[in-house]
Every structure is written in C-alpha cells, then in structure tokens.
C-alpha cells in the first residue's frame, strides 16, 4: 500500500522524487532484510520451541534419579550416568521386545504398502460400481475411532486363532484407509493415456500395474512406508490386548510397564524411551528427504 502511494507521489513530484530515489531503494532493501529476518527468526523460535523439550528429555535421561526433581532445575546433568539405560535394558527382555517390534513394523509396512498400492490403483483406474461401494467401505473405517472397533476386532482375531500371535497384530493393521487414499489420489493424477498407450502396445493389465504404475508411485510408497513403520512402532493398546506371552511383547508394552499404578521410575522410563526412539531417528536420517514430504500429509489417521 505505502509503496504504491509512494510511486504515485513520485509521479507528481518528479523533481523531489529524483532526490528521493536512493532513499526509497534503501528503504525497500531494509524492508526485505526485515522480512527475511523475521521469517528466519520465527523459524528459529519454532525450532527451539520444538527442540527444547526433546533436548531436555534426552539430557534428563543421563541424570541420576535423585537429580531429576531437585531444585533449581538444571538442563545439563551435574553428574552423567547411564544407570537409567542399563536398568531399563536389564529389567525387561528388551532385546526380545526390540526384535518383535522390528518384525511387526517391517512385515506390516511391506504388506501395507503392497495392499494400499494395489487397491489405490484399482480404485483410481477401474470403473466399476462395486469398486465404488468398496471405496465407501474403506472410507467408512476412518469414521470410527480405533477404540470403538477394539472389541469386535478382538473377537475376529480370537476366532481366527490369531490371539497371542504376532500375526494378530500384523493382519488387522495391513489395510489402512490413509494408505489407500494416498495411492488413489496419486494414481488419479497419472493420465489415463499412459494406461491406454500401454494397452495398445499389448501390455496385460498386471504388467501395466507392475511395470508402469508401481515404479511411478515410488515416492508415495516411501511416504506410506515411513508412516506405517512409525504407526506400528508406537502401537500400544492393540498389541497389549492381543499378546499374552512376554516373549512376544512389543517395545511399547515394555515401556508402559515401567509406569506403575502409584509411582513411576522416571530415570528408567527416560532411558527406555530414548532407546525406543533410536530406530525412528535412524529411519528419519536415512529417509530424511521423504519424511519431509510425508509430514505434509501429517494429521491423517492410520
């Protein structure tokens, strides 16, 4: 606003305007610096806002339990200790829980990606009344919170004989509406001409899918894979209900059992939580590029 009125005024008062020109340039430049500066500063403020609790959390895990609540609070431990970590690792069958969780997260992720890719493609590229009904059914699953479906899903799993088996936590989480929707909306953007051209060249439907569509959708695959891994890694209540045998427990059950009815052993809990974060951090470092993309879709329901 003020810039345009400046220009109007310079038109009217040319002589004066000539004198004012360098001043105006400087003005705009400083305003631009100001704009950039404020955006960057804001980013830093947010970054610190997000990072600070995490930093405190990680640093606190190295404090002895007597230091955790002592006043005044300190950011850095006065005395570094790994006792929280060692107690956490020893008090539960942590290695076994770790392996179980990795098996569950990996197998589910592979199956989720495969199932979502195939069904997303079918829903986007084939026209059929029953497919539409199926699509609505998938959509409907997002309308019920997981807690509501807990009891009926439990009965199904029990009757299928999957109670107390890792498969009992893998199978129900394979099909996720989010995954199907992600692939469907992606395949909708792929022009139909591509499919038709392939058909004219004599490609069968399956080879169109595997040779053309699957490679095209690689970014979406990675995005969903990261999501799915994260969901399964953090799952708690469903594994707790389905698994009975401690040798099949997942990591989150182990961590949750540190939180007692009456009191919480904070130093052990902190250590265990940091350990459980490590795989996700590694995943993030490896797939950083795609995680950034994945979080654009954050807020979707699993």
């Amino acid at each position: 606003m003020s810039a345009s009125s400046d220009i109007l005024r310079t038109g009217a008062l040319a002589a004066e305007g000539r004198r004012r020109t360098p001043h105006r340039k400087k003005n705009i430049a400083s305003r631009q610096i100001g704009r950039h500066l404020s955006a960057t500063t804001l980013l830093w403020v947010f970054a610190i806002g997000f990072a600070f609790p995490l930093l405190w959390f990680v640093l606190s895990s190295f404090k002895p339990s007597g230091d955790l609540f002592s006043y005044p609070l300190t950011l850095f431990p006065k005395q570094w200790t790994l006792s929280g970590y060692t107690t956490a690792w020893q008090s539960f069958d942590f290695a076994q829980y770790f392996i179980n969780t990795i098996i569950v997260a990996c197998v589910t992720t592979v199956l989720t990606v495969a199932a979502s890719c195939a069904s997303g493609y079918a829903l986007a590229k084939y026209q059929n009344r029953w497919l539409k009904v199926f699509f609505v059914c998938i959509l409907a699953t997002t309308m019920l919170p997981t807690e509501v479906m807990l009891a009926p899903s439990f009965l199904v799993i029990r009757d299928l004989g999957l109670y107390n088996a890792l498969a009992g936590i893998i199978v129900p989480s394979i099909l996720t509406a989010t995954g199907v929707l992600m692939f469907r909306s992606f395949f909708l953007t792929v022009p139909d001409d591509l499919v038709e051209a392939a058909r004219i060249d004599g490609a069968r439907e399956l080879s169109i899918f595997f040779r053309i569509m699957v490679p095209l959708s690689r970014p979406i695959m990675l995005t969903l894979a990261i999501f799915s891994f994260q969901w399964r890694w953090n799952d708690y209540i469903w594994p707790l209900l389905v698994l009975n045998d401690p040798s099949k427990f997942t990591l989150q059950i182990g961590i949750q059992s540190i939180v007692g009815a009456q009191n919480i052993n904070w130093s052990v809990l902190l250590g265990a939580s940091v350990i459980s974060m490590i795989p996700l951090v590694i995943l993030y470092l490896v797939f950083q590029k795609y995680v950034m993309g994945a979080n654009i879709n954050a807020g979707l329901k699993d």
Binding site: S70, S91, A151, A167, L240, D245, I253
Partner: protein, 437 residues
C-alpha cells in the same frame, strides 16, 4: 518420464516385491502356527501368573517361583502387564478364554468374578493369620481374593527442612499430632526456611478419605438401605481441606490441574507430602538431596488411615487340573515362611499378622518408615478399611465405581466454581448413581 526407464528396473522390482510378499506371508503363517502349537501342550506342569508392578516389586515373585520350581517341578510363568490397560486386557482375556491361572489384580471385575476359584481354605488355615478384613468374600462364604499386601495413606516430611527450622515432629504413633498442629508446624518450617509450600496432597479420593476419617468423619458412607450420604464432620473436614488449597499451604495446581505432588516434594521445596506407603521404596532411591522421614498419621482425634489391599490375588478356574495346581501354589505362597520372604523383597506391608519382616533397604529412613507403618496399622480405627470392603461388596453385586467424582468436584470447589457443600452433594449423587441402591 518412466517410459524412458530401462526394462530391467521394473521387473527386478516386481521380483523383489513378490519375494517380500511371499516371505512375509510365510512368516505370518509360521507365527500363527507356532502360537497355537505351544499353548495347548504341557499345561499341567506350567502355570501363568499375571501381575502389574515395578520390576523391583516383581523380584519377590520371581524368587518364590524359582523356589517352587525346585520344590515341586511346577513352572510358574510371570507376566508383568502395564497398569494402564490391565483391566481391559483381563476383560478381553476372559472373552478369549485366555485368562491366566493366577493373577494379582488391582480390582475385581463383575465380568470375570464367576470364573474365580474359592480360596477359603487358605484363609481358614489358622497358622497363616490372614487379616480377614481385607479378603473378598461372597455371601456364600467363598473367598474370591486375598490381598498380596496392604497399603495405607501416610505422611512424609522433608526432615532437613524441619531440622533447619528447629521445629520438632512426632516420631511415635502414641504421641501424634492433629492436622491443625501439623499445619502450624509446617507453616513455621516454611516461613523460616523459605520453602514454597507446606504440603502437597495426592489428588486421590483415598488420601482425602484418610484425612476425613482422622477428623472424625465417615466421608461418603452408605446407610443400611444402601443410600449414600455424608455427615457433619465430613463436611467440616472437607471444608478445611479446601481452605488449605490456597497456594501458600498447598498448591492449588495439584487438585485442579494435575500437577505432580510427588515431583514437587522431591524438588525439596515442599515441607510435607501426604501420600502412602508405596512411595517409601522409590524415595529410598530417588531422594538424595535432602533427608526425608515418615511421620505418624495425624489424629484429630481418630487414629485412622485409608487402608486398602495392594493387589488382589485371585485364581482362575481354567480347568480342573489347572485350578488345583493354581490353588496349590497359592496355598504354598501364603504360608508364613514364603509370604514373609515376599513381603521383605517387595517391600510390602503384610496382610498376615505376626511376621516381623526385615526389609532389605539400605536407607534408614525407609527402614524407619516401614517400622512406623507396621506399628500403626493395628492402631487404626475400623473405619480405615470401610472403602476396601465396600468396593468388594459392590463388585459382587455387579456394580463398580468406575469414576469417583471426588477429585473433579473438589477441584471445582478449590477453584471457587462451586461451594464445598455443592461439591459434596455432587459426589454423593455420583456414588448413589454408580453404586447406590
């Protein structure tokens, strides 16, 4: 873009995909098989015990189980289940016919009480000396649960602050103080040491009940017809409690917005903490910056506390042979020799009398605390066990107090949103609605 790609790429990917799918399908089938295969066999030599406790309090059971295996060859497998979700898991397990043989549960649930085995022979064994006030007994005389231990509310003080201020405190239950004397002493300590608050008070109905009992009230009490009401002394005690929440004597944040009273006390800025015996073992390790002590519960003039069962030990009737084996284990566990070890290792207050357990704590504060609790328990007025017994009665009638409205309503009273008498009325209504006649 993709049309330019070499033809080998996609086919390799396809093969990889197919391989992964095949492997994972096989894994699922295998996982399914292995579980169904192992669970049905060797069931007569193996029992399952569910509990929810810290690793430290599992140690006592671990030791017992090891001894039992050596003695009888029967293996008892312990599964430690997270507390949040334990009751849901028990319900689902009851549906799936996958209940354990033995369990230590936080509360009975009408959904599975019919599957419990009768433990009356253990209670009736005279040499066990089990305190019958804490067992869950049906009207037919069946004993459904025996507590693993007893818990009681209790008062902790920051001993260093008291010493710094030169204020004395009672050490023996015969010469305890009243709530008013205690608050006066705490005021003095706070003022002379610059501490922030006199007291933090767990946001728990149980802790409030204990205080009300000590001031002569009965809290929310059912009459013979099963209708709940409160008495005048309760009204007075609750009024007093609400008035203490003034951000000087007690921080309002604990009852109104869920601040952690234990963390506040552990910061060393609070003179005293009203909690319970279960804090002792954790304080023994986690408080290193100052000295703490357990002091006798105030009596104004009633010597009381809210005494509950720590965990309820139950046996499930899964099959004839399994329930016999479960009962054999429990009979053995509650024999004084074994039970004494359990209480010592786990830091339990025993439900059996005459044990004189020697706790393994290095901290003298913890040793003294346990001695004090063990001395005080027999002195408590009968009202102390009222709620624990009432709870069992409700469950046996198929009802349960799923949400105690006390904390929410009194939070409102502390915030000034309603008067104490309105809050009490709402609490009584809540009780009548959930577990009343």
């Amino acid at each position: 873009m993709t049309l330019k790609k070499s033809p080998t790429g996609p086919s390799r990917l396809r093969r990889a995909l197919a391989a992964v799918a095949a492997v994972s399908a096989a894994a699922i089938v295998l996982a399914g098989c292995s579980s169904s295969g192992s669970s049905s066999s060797d069931s007569d030599k193996k029992l399952t015990l569910w509990l929810s406790s810290s690793a430290a309090q599992q140690a006592g059971y671990d030791q017992l189980v090891k001894e039992y295996k050596q003695k009888t060859g029967v293996q008892v497998k312990i599964v430690n289940i997270p507390y949040s979700g334990y009751s849901t898991k028990l319900r689902d397990a009851a549906q799936a016919n996958a209940l354990p043989d033995i369990a230590s549960v936080p509360a009975l649930d009408p959904i599975w009480t019919k599957k419990l085995i009768d433990l009356s022979s253990i209670v009736d064994t005279k040499s066990n000396k089990i305190n019958k006030n804490f067992i869950a007994k049906t009207s037919d005389g069946d004993v459904l649960a025996i507590p693993s231990d007893v818990t009681a509310s209790g008062l902790f003080i920051n001993k260093s602050l008291f010493e710094k201020a030169g204020v004395s405190y009672p050490t023996s239950p015969d010469k305890t103080w009243t709530w008013e004397e205690f608050i006066k002493a705490a005021d003095q300590v706070r003022e002379s040491t610059g501490a922030k608050y006199d007291l933090t008070f767990d946001a728990s109905p149980s802790r409030l009940r204990a205080m009300v009992y000590e001031m002569g009230g009965k809290y929310v009490h059912a009459d013979s017809s099963g209708t709940f009401s409160t008495d005048k002394k309760t009204q007075k005690a609750v009024d007093y409690f609400v008035s203490l929440n003034n951000d000087t004597i007690m921080p309002k944040s604990v009852w109104t917005s869920g601040a952690d009273p234990s963390a506040l006390f552990q910061s060393g800025q609070v003179v005293a903490y009203w909690s319970g015996v279960w804090q002792v073992s954790s304080f023994a390790e986690s408080i290193t910056k100052f000295d703490w002590a357990s002091v006798p519960t105030p009596a104004q003039p009633v010597q009381a506390s809210d005494v509950n069962s720590g965990g309820l030990v139950v046996g499930f009737n899964n099959s004839d042979s399994e329930s016999t084996a479960a009962k054999a284990f429990l009979s053995w566990m509650y024999k004084p020799a074994q039970y004494k070890k359990l209480t010592e290792v786990n830091g339990y207050l025993p439900v059996e009398s005459g044990l004189d357990p020697q706790y393994p704590f290095k901290s003298t504060a913890a040793q003294d605390a346990f001695k004090l609790y063990n001395d005080e328990l027999p002195l408590y007025a009968p009202i102390s066990g009222y709620f624990n017994q009432a709870q069992t009665k409700w469950v046996l009638n198929g009802k349960s107090l799923t949400t105690d409205p006390s904390v929410t309503e009194l939070g409102k009273a502390i915030n000034g949103q309603e008067s104490t008498s309105e809050a009490l009325k709402n609490i009584v209504d809540g009780y009548n609605q959930q577990v009343g006649k």
